[in-house]
Subunit: 149 residues, 2 copies
Amino acid sequence: MDREQFKQLLKDKGLKVTNQRVLVLEAIASCPDKHLTAEEIYELVKVDYPEIGLATVYRTIQMLLELHLVDRINLDDGYVRYEIGSGSTDTTKHHHHHLICLSCGKVISFEDDLLEELEKKITDKEGFQIVDHEVKLYGYCKECGGKTD
Amino acid sequence: MDREQFKQLLKDKGLKVTNQRVLVLEAIASCPDKHLTAEEIYELVKVDYPEIGLATVYRTIQMLLELHLVDRINLDDGYVRYEIGSGSTDTTKHHHHHLICLSCGKVISFEDDLLEELEKKITDKEGFQIVDHEVKLYGYCKECGGKTD
DNA sequence: GTCCATGCAAATGATTTGCAGTATC
DNA sequence: GATACTGCAAATCATTTGCATGGAC
């Protein structure tokens, strides 16, 4: 999803194209592995566009979530974080999961389809139709060398 | 973990045994599938002990989390929820996961060891040592009959 | 020119904290 | 009796909202 595609999407949805909206999306897209908080996005956008307000950042994020261009992640550290969405590419909703280091706080994303098997089992057994999932694995990354701390 | 065991644990840790602490733990333990919010726990305890304060409930929950007697769940609905802990039994940390109905909001817990395979794979490939995990599956429960929103 | 979008400041709401009184040990 | 625990009210902090101005179309 490049800048022009995004502008077109906004127009198609009857939404207005503003600098703020473009810059917020680009800030999130430019840090695919950093899992930014709203405040961090605000600070990033302010570099290029100092007059933006925090409320606009929140409102834009809300809109991007509804358009499925960004995903929300909650690491339970008191901040809600955002990353460029899996749905932003298209078709196959390739969810990715998160490895969270309990020592340094680093978040590593990874892909895996192992859950599909599990989901099939649950649908069969419980009659529960699964449409989405979120997986967080907590542990210690290579650098923090297993359990050191 | 019954009431007496809990009292003993508190003593062993050098903590004082109070009605408030016993009642908060019992409120959470009595609703193993309801995933209560702090406010709900507060209301439950108030029935038997009207003078309790909400701050005490929060402080007690904090303590119970540290003792691994309760677990925290975040359904991203703006409330943090608590349930009686998997570690409260013992030895084999049998995590359970959550099925969350997008239509009625019901939360169903289930056990599965499928992730062990995945965790082994990640430890081998990434050098990331996993010690805990959280899985949330979103969808539609039997009663809400697949997708009938 | 119309209205949606923005910025600011004030409001909200869950959780935390300071402090003086109270209960446990 | 000392000190940890509690209740209350005030503080905190992320997020939301009201409203008047500004910008997109």
